[in-house]
Structure formats: structure tokens, C-alpha cells
């Protein structure tokens, strides 16, 4: 077959430039460590990569949300532990009151102690977070949970939920209204008033003590229930955390398998392509030196 001189040069140069392009691509992969450079390089992989990165980002965000809720639960736990301790001390005073031989001054001093416990309960119920929001007021985070003079609940019945994983919304789930049995704090105050009044009749005192005792027992149950609620939420969050970090690992593995290069393969490709180019260059110089003109003298 007849071959023109230009063809020889053209074919050699186009072959060499194709090899050079390959080497440039391979060395780019080697230096960046990434396989997928643009959607063109791996259309399906690029779309999957987008999905995986979205999953990672959302997973991370859920973890941020869980930490925010855990922080609030932590503050709430501290408050509830304080409430529990205070209730314990109140219980001792209530047992003392049951002792029928108390003098009027004894009763008045117990009433004073109960008042300080009541104040402490109100103060713990009005716990705020670092940003100054009342945590036991439902949505009404700007209103004191318990009014210090009427002992009425100032919040609402709502539970502010946040997204804590892809399918769960969770909130604190406890407010100052559900924490105590209905009218407990007001009842404590009423009983204190009766106990500290020297003019109170024995019958009035007996009623005050019995009403106090009934309300107290009911509230012990609700305070316990609130602690259980918080504990349960905390456990759920912790378990979500471990699921979340397992997911994060899985997503990161997926991303890595989509975009990270296999260095063994890349480096051996690079060595092979370099060798091919060297051979092509040597062949080209040798062939282009062959000519009859070398012999026409």
C-alpha cells in the first residue's frame, strides 16, 4: 500500500499526543487522589456522590440537632434532680407534721422551712437555658414557667420538636405544668399559710396537713414520670448517635469508593503509559531518519 510521507508524521504525532493526554489525566488522578473529576468522567457516580454527600450533611446536621436537645435535657435533668432533692426534704417536714405533739411554734418553724423549699421549687421550675429562655414553658419560652406569687403555670401545653434523625422529631417533652400534680404548689402555699397562722384551729391544721400530704404524694409520681421521660429521650438520642456515626462511616465509605483512586492501579497505569510514549518517541525518530535522500550524494 502506498503511504504518503505526511501520513507517517501525522500518525506518529497524533499517537504521541493521545498518549500525552492519557498521561496528563492519569497524573492528575495521582496528584489529586480523586477519580471523579466532573460529571462527564462518571455520570452515574457523580449523581450518587451528590446523594451521598447530601446524606452525610443531613446526618451531621441531625447530630447537631441532637446535641442541642441533649444540652436542654441536661439542664432539665439538673433542675429535676434539684426538685427531687427538695421534695425529699419536704417529705421529712411533712412526716414531722404528722407527729401530733407539735407546739404552735414548732409548726410555725416547719412552715418557714416549707416556704423556703417552695421558693426553691419555683426557682428550679423557672430554669433558663444559656440564651435566657425558660425551658419548662412550652412554646412560651419568654414567660416564667411558674408565677412566683400565684404559683400558676405561665407556659403553654406545646412541646417544641426538632428533627433528631431522618424520621424522628423529638422535644423536651416536659413542662412545669406536667411536672407537678395539678395545683400542688398553690396547695403547699395554702397549707403553709394555715400552719403559720397562730389562730388556725386544730381541725383546720389537720385538713391543711392532709391536703398537703395528698398533693405531695401525687407530685412525687409526676416528678418521677418527668425524670423517666427525660431519661428515655436521652437514651433514644444516644442510640441515634451511634446509629448516626455508623451511617456516617457507611456514607463516607461510599463517597470514598466513588471518588478516591486506587493508587496501585493509577501508578501502574502511569508507568505503562510513560513506557508507551517513550517507545513511540524512539520509533518516530528512527523511522523519520530513514530516507533515500541520505544516500543521494
Amino acid at each position: 500500500m502506498r503511504i504518503s510521507t505526511n501520513t507517517i508524521y501525522q500518525l506518529s504525532t497524533s499517537q504521541m499526543s493521545a498518549l500525552q493526554e492519557k498521561i496528563s489525566q492519569t497524573s492528575q488522578q495521582a496528584s489529586t487522589g480523586k477519580k471523579v473529576m466532573t460529571p462527564q468522567d462518571d455520570p452515574v457516580g457523580s449523581a450518587k456522590l451528590l446523594e451521598a454527600k447530601q446524606a452525610i450533611t443531613m446526618n451531621d446536621q441531625y447530630s447537631v440537632n441532637r446535641n442541642a436537645l441533649k444540652y436542654t435535657i441536661g439542664i432539665a435533668n439538673v433542675a429535676l434532680n434539684g426538685i427531687q432533692d427538695t421534695m425529699q426534704s419536704m417529705n421529712e417536714q411533712i412526716v414531722n407534721l404528722g407527729n401530733g405533739t407539735l407546739s404552735s411554734s414548732n409548726r410555725q418553724s416547719i412552715a418557714l422551712t416549707l416556704q423556703s423549699h417552695l421558693d426553691h421549687l419555683v426557682s428550679l421550675s423557672n430554669t433558663k437555658d444559656a440564651a435566657g429562655h425558660y425551658i419548662f414553658s412550652g412554646y412560651k419560652s419568654d414567660t416564667a414557667s411558674i408565677n412566683a406569687s400565684t404559683y400558676a403555670y405561665g407556659g403553654d401545653a406545646n412541646n417544641a420538636l426538632i428533627q433528631v434523625d431522618s424520621s424522628t422529631q423529638l422535644g423536651l417533652g416536659v413542662n412545669a405544668n406536667s411536672m407537678f400534680s395539678s395545683g400542688f404548689l398553690a396547695q403547699v402555699k395554702t397549707s403553709i399559710n394555715t400552719l403559720s397562722n397562730a389562730a388556725s384551729t386544730d381541725a383546720q391544721i389537720a385538713t391543711a396537713i392532709s391536703d398537703l400530704s395528698t398533693a405531695f404524694n401525687a407530685s412525687q409520681i409526676t416528678v418521677n414520670a418527668a425524670q423517666v421521660t427525660l431519661g428515655t429521650s436521652e437514651n433514644r438520642l444516644t442510640s441515634m448517635d451511634s446509629i448516626g456515626s455508623e451511617r456516617a462511616l457507611a456514607y463516607k465509605d461510599a463517597v470514598s469508593s466513588l471518588e478516591d483512586v486506587d493508587y496501585n492501579k493509577v501508578l501502574s497505569d502511569l508507568a505503562r503509559q510513560q513506557l508507551q510514549l517513550q517507545v513511540a518517541q524512539k520509533t518516530f525518530t528512527q523511522i523519520s531518519n530513514l530516507s533515500i535522500f541520505n544516500y543521494i550524494k
Partner: protein, 556 residues
């Protein structure tokens, strides 16, 4: 005896012609489009010599070029295809890079916006959380505006290339017509003189033209008649019918190409100018750039519409219902420049879930309130002879915003594309309606919601993972992912077919080159051959002179 002198002389002439032609071939070894030339020789007619006849030497009857029209046509076709695909493949690159998220950040901006809403959901009244939501909204629209701007720049680049390509086509047309003329003149005035150079030049112009556009060449009376695209006449003998660039009648930001045939009216030929790099630009603009612009527009339109809608159903801290967080630009509805009426059309987006990434053509079909709506992507007639107000199923409604629309008037509707106008965020931190409005839409008197009420933020967040686009089939990220894989696939396909076409083009050029091109070894051999022929004829001449001398010596 005198005959031997002229025979030797004719041999010297022929050998000289051979050496000259070989020299010409060697000199043009790397001239593009040069076809090797060979000397055509015939023995001179013999004359009666005694009882027999003897030849009178040799005659150079012509120098012709080795050229195959068939191989040239094949190479041109391959060149047209290869250049078409290479152009599209090259144009894909900016879009391909744009959709690599590290450079545009479209997906990251969407994720970040919703992350900031998540943070707000745990601190709904917190000023800094609100501020970060506003900043993330601004970043979101900035990323999408920027992407649209880059695509608009791609379109401007295409306009420049269209102009450039049309200039090249017109120049080639002039050159072919002028070469037609020069060849005809040379052949008649100098009686079939050597026009090989001119023929090569003309074929080379055609070869270059075949990069720009698909063409067919018909040779008639030695002239090339050239048709481009799907049968648009460009050159007929000595006459040219040139192309012109004009702004598209449906989108003034785009250049189209018109052609005025002999004695005819100017027509837009953009749709029939197939093949080559010019055809590639039109294909790319229609099949890739346009849908990409529309899909990116569709995503940001859906996000901003959905968030605005949710914000409007919530309560702000001051107890008032929320308004828009995002300000959206108007969708483009362009009246054709050929319309006889003066009316304009406004598009109002009604349901982003029903939108597609297609453009639509609206045509008034009668004197009354009667319109056709055609979806451009698949040519489906969505509405036929319908009242304007009844057009509701495509996710938008239409109204006449000024003047009157005449029967036959047409409009190009691009619901998801807003051209150069961009999205913005005018809301400030107090405009975010974090709380639910409840059952009574707006309390009267106005009551500020509880500051911890985050339920409306949760309603916004629910949009992120819901299937709220393409008729409930995809989420925002799904649509973006779909765009990425569509562009990636198209891009990879173009790269592969372009590489294949390039090989085809190379091998057909090589076939032509191997047939018509110079082989220096061959020329070196010819050089030796003609040199020896020259020397031999010289020896004949010398011998004839010696014989003549010896006869003269006898006479002394």
C-alpha cells in the same frame, strides 16, 4: 540523421518536465491540500522510414494531479461529523465543570440553607440563628444566579462562534465562486493549461468549509455548486448566496442565521443548517444549554416558591402573617418579532410541582379568546383552541399584560427561566415566620406567637426531603442529581462519539492523503529516474553529434 537529434531533444524535454514536476512535488510536500502531480508522456507518432516507420521521440501530453473526488467527499463528510461532535463536546466542558459541585456549590448551598433552618428550629427566637438563615438564603440565590450568569456567558460565547462560523462560510463561498471563475478563464484562454494548483486550492477551501457545515458539491461544467445544511444553496457557479446573522425572533439574546436565495425572501435557516461546527452550536444550544438553564431555574423557582408559601402561612414574632422571604424574577414570555399585535403575556407560577424544564409556545388561533399551547421539548399540544384563563395544568397561568394580541401571534414562554434577572432576598431577620398561624389565619387583634413556637420552621424543613417537583416524582436534590447525570451522560457520550468520529475523520483523510499525497521516497526514486533519463538522452545527443562529426571528417 537529423531525426536522432530531435528525438534526443524530446527525451531531454520530457526528462526535464519530469525533474521539474518531481521538484514541485518535493517543494509542496507539506502544503495542505496539495495533490501530487505526474507527467503524462506519449511516444510521438512515427514517420515512414524506408519500408518501415520509426518513432519521432516523445511528447509530454500533460501534467495531471492524482486526486479522487470519491475519497475527498468521504473525507469531507467525516470532517463535518467530527467537527460537529468536537464542537459540542468542547461546549459541554463549561457546563460539565459548572455542575461539578466544588466549583458551583449549587448542592452545597441548598444543603446549607436547610441546615441553617434546622439550627433555627432548635432556637426559633434566637437572633443569630435567624441571621444565619438570612445569610444562607442570600448565598443560595447567589449560587443559582451565578450559575445562570455563567450559562448566559456560554450563550454569548455561542453567539460569537456563530458569527465567526458564518464569516468563514461566507468567505469560503466567495473563494469557491472566484476559483470557479479563475479555473474557467484559465481553461478557455490558455487551452487546458495546468490548473492543478487552482483545483487543489478550490478543493482545500471546500475541505475547510466542511468543518463548518455539512455540504454537498455538484460539479457542473467544471464549476463547483455547493449546497450546505439540508439543501441551502451557497455557491452556484460564479454566484454566492451568503448567510447573515440576526437576533432570534423569539429570543433577542440569541443569534440565528438567515439566507436569501436567488430571487427569494430572507428566511431563517438555523434549523436546517445541520452538521459541522455551526450545526453543532445550534444542536448544543437547543438540546443542552436550554434545558440546563431551565432545570437550574426550575430548582431555585421551586425552592423559593415553596419556602415563600410556607412562610406566608406562619406568624412572625410581631403576630403578623409572614410574607415572601425570596423575591423571584418574572418568567420570560417573549412575543415573536413577527407578531402583528402589540400585546404582551405575563406568566404567573401557580404550582412548581407541575412545572417541567421545557419551554412552551403560545399561539393565538382565532379572533376570540382561543389559544394553542405547545410544549417545545416533545412538541405535544397541551391545549388546543382554549381560553387563556383555562390554561392551568402546566403549573402556570397566563394573562395579557398590555396591548392586544392578534390572531396568529406567537409567544415563547420560558416559565422556569428568567433571563438576566435574578433572585434576591429582601427579607430581614424579623420576616421569618417561625410560628404556626393555627386554624384562624390571622388572629384579630394581632397576638404575638410564643417565641419557642418552631412549628412553621419544621414545615419549611419538611420541603427538603419531600417529592415536590416534576409531578411529585423528585425532591430538589433529586432534580439536581438528575441534571448532573443527564449532563454527565451526554458529555461522556459526546466525548466518546467525538473520539470515534475523529478517528474516522483521520482515517478517511489518511486514505486521501495516501492516494494524493507526496511520498518522498517515491519522489527521490523519480528524481533518480528522470536524472538518468536526462543523462541518457544527453548521451544520445552527444553520440549523434559524434556520428555527424565523423561524416563531416570523411568529407575533408
Amino acid at each position: 540523421m537529423a531525426d536522432i537529434l530531435s528525438i534526443a531533444q524530446s527525451g531531454l524535454h520530457a526528462a526535464q518536465a519530469g525533474i521539474n514536476t518531481t521538484g514541485q512535488n518535493i517543494a509542496n510536500v507539506s502544503t495542505p491540500g496539495y495533490s501530487r502531480q505526474v507527467v503524462e508522456q506519449q511516444p510521438s507518432p512515427s514517420v515512414q522510414y524506408g519500408l518501415t516507420s520509426i518513432g519521432q521521440g516523445t511528447n509530454v501530453t500533460g501534467i495531471h494531479r492524482i486526486y479522487s473526488e470519491f475519497l475527498a467527499a468521504q473525507a469531507n463528510t467525516a470532517r463535518t461529523t467530527s467537527s460537529n461532535l468536537a464542537t459540542q463536546s468542547a461546549e459541554m466542558q463549561p457546563i460539565n465543570n459548572l455542575l461539578t459541585d466544588s466549583s458551583s456549590g449549587l448542592s452545597t448551598a441548598v444543603l446549607d440553607f436547610f441546615n441553617k433552618l434546622q439550627n433555627l428550629s432548635s432556637k426559633p427566637s434566637d437572633t443569630s440563628s435567624r441571621q444565619t438563615v438570612i445569610s444562607a438564603s442570600q448565598n443560595l440565590v447567589a449560587r443559582f444566579n451565578d450559575a445562570q450568569k455563567q450559562l448566559t456567558n456560554v450563550n454569548s460565547g455561542l453567539n460569537i462562534q456563530i458569527k465567526d462560523s458564518v464569516t468563514k462560510i461566507n468567505e469560503a463561498a466567495s473563494q469557491i465562486a472566484s476559483l470557479n471563475q479563475q479555473i474557467a478563464v484559465s481553461q478557455t484562454s490558455r487551452g487546458g493549461s495546468n490548473v492543478n494548483g487552482l483545483l487543489d486550492q478550490r478543493d482545500q477551501v471546500v475541505a475547510n468549509l466542511s468543518k463548518q457545515i455539512k455540504l454537498t458539491v455538484n460539479e457542473q461544467d467544471g464549476n463547483y455548486n455547493v449546497m450546505i445544511g439540508n439543501g441551502v444553496p451557497l455557491v452556484l457557479a460564479f454566484n454566492t448566496y451568503k448567510l447573515e446573522t440576526v437576533a432570534s425572533k423569539t429570543d433577542p439574546t440569541r443569534l440565528n442565521v438567515t439566507h436569501t436565495p436567488n430571487g427569494g425572501a430572507e428566511v431563517d435557516v438555523s434549523d436546517v443548517l445541520l452538521g459541522g461546527s455551526l450545526g453543532g452550536i445550534f444542536d448544543f444550544r437547543k438540546n443542552i444549554l436550554n434545558p440546563t438553564q431551565n432545570t437550574i431555574g426550575q430548582i431555585i423557582l421551586a425552592i423559593t416558591s415553596d419556602i415563600n408559601a410556607v412562610n406566608k402561612t406562619g406568624l412572625k414574632a410581631n403576630g403578623m402573617l409572614g410574607g415572601n422571604i425570596f423575591t423571584q424574577p418574572a418568567s420570560l414570555a417573549t412575543p415573536y418579532t413577527t407578531n402583528s399585535g402589540t400585546g404582551g403575556i405575563s406568566i404567573t407560577i401557580t404550582d412548581t410541582n407541575l412545572l417541567t424544564n421545557s419551554d412552551y409556545i403560545l399561539e393565538k388561533t382565532g379572533a376570540g379568546d382561543s389559544y394553542n399551547l405547545t410544549r417545545v421539548s416533545d412538541g405535544v399540544n397541551v391545549y388546543s383552541n382554549s381560553a387563556l384563563a383555562s390554561i392551568t395544568n402546566a403549573g402556570f397561568s397566563l394573562s395579557i399584560n398590555a396591548g392586544a394580541v392578534s390572531s396568529g401571534d406567537q409567544f415563547l414562554l420560558r416559565p422556569t427561566y428568567s433571563g438576566a434577572s435574578s433572585y434576591s432576598v429582601t427579607a430581614t431577620i424579623n420576616d421569618i415566620a417561625t410560628a404556626a398561624a393555627g386554624t384562624s389565619m390571622q388572629p384579630n387583634p394581632v397576638v404575638a406567637p410564643a417565641p419557642g413556637d418552631n412549628s412553621n420552621v419544621l414545615a419549611m424543613l419538611a420541603k427538603q426531603t419531600s417529592l415536590v417537583m416534576n409531578g411529585g416524582l423528585s425532591s430538589y436534590q433529586d432534580t439536581l442529581g438528575g441534571l448532573i447525570s443527564t449532563v454527565g451522560n451526554k458529555s461522556a457520550e459526546l466525548k466518546a462519539t467525538s473520539a470515534y468520529a475523529d478517528q474516522w475523520q483521520q482515517s478517511s483523510s489518511v486514505a486521501m492523503e495516501n492516494y494524493s499525497g507526496i511520498n518522498l521516497e517515491e519522489e527521490a526514486a523519480n528524481l533518480l529516474r528522470y536524472q538518468q533519463a536526462y543523462q541518457a538522452s544527453g548521451t544520445v545527443l552527444q553520440m549523434a553529434r559524434q556520428m555527424f562529426d565523423s561524416v563531416l571528417n570523411i568529407m575533408r
